[in-house]
């Protein structure tokens, strides 16, 4: 596709359930980021991949959060034993190269609601 694609668009989970959020970046993009956006807040960095390597996971809020990008394209963000504070929009973004001057292309996000 032409842009970053995320699925599902909406996810409702009961507290304690595991969820998996998928991101299809723009084809050929080396860099992939995950961000978490709580209601009324700006996005907060979670983790960064360069190809299949996870180079920065300093933003993951707990060990219940896990991300992977095994073949350097599609990425999955997994949240185990979801809690109510995990309710947020999860944004995926990609860019063609590893450069801080290059803007990110964002997907529309997955809105996770934990009940």
């Amino acid at each position: 596709g032409a842009g970053v694609s995320q699925s599902p668009r909406y996810k409702v989970a009961k507290r304690g359930q595991d969820v998996a959020l998928r991101c299809d970046p723009i084809s050929g993009h080396v860099s992939l980021f995950w961000y978490q956006q709580a209601l009324g807040q700006g996005p907060e960095f979670l983790t960064y991949f360069q190809n299949e390597a996870q180079l920065d996971k300093s933003g993951l809020p707990s060990d219940r959060f896990f991300a992977e990008r095994p073949e350097g394209s599609v990425s999955t963000l997994k949240i185990q034993r979801t809690q109510q504070e995990d309710s947020a929009v999860y944004l995926c973004a990609s860019r063609p190269q590893n450069s801080y001057n290059s803007p990110l292309h964002f997907g529309n996000g997955t809105r996770l609601t934990v009940t």
Binding site: S31, P43, E44, D56, N98, Y100, S102, H105
Partner: protein
């Protein structure tokens, strides 16, 4: 550490009047700065970027921003607001202390446009 502060959480303007969204940054290095817009239930869209070239940066949809080092500011302006400009706007700095430049978002400014 690099950060941005958006000085207004909400801005209300009448259609056809100028828009001013204020942003101050903090950075020990020459920063890369961006403005992104987020329409309801949509992904983040890049409006413009500053990367140490011209201090007056023109973006999409008639927006522009001026980088003022002496004031550590990067305010976003538009001469004449349109109803379609109603959205959330984020001032963003690229963190250059790592080599992949994760983005640090401001808290956002909600823009309301009245007829």
């Amino acid at each position: 550490a690099q950060s941005v502060t958006q000085l207004d959480s909400h801005v209300s303007v009448s259609e056809g009047t100028p828009v001013l969204l204020r942003c101050n940054y903090s950075s020990s290095y020459s920063p890369s700065l961006f403005w992104y817009v987020q329409h309801p239930n949509k992904g983040l869209q890049l409006l413009l970027k500053y990367t140490s070239a011209a201090t007056l940066v023109k973006g999409i949809n008639g927006f522009e921003a001026e980088f003022k080092k002496s004031e550590t500011s990067f305010h976003l302006t538009k001469p004449s607001a349109h109803m379609s400009d109603a959205a959330e706007y984020f001032c963003v700095v690229s963190v250059t202390t790592d080599s992949w430049g994760k983005l640090q978002f401001g808290a956002g400014t909600q823009v309301v446009v009245t007829p």
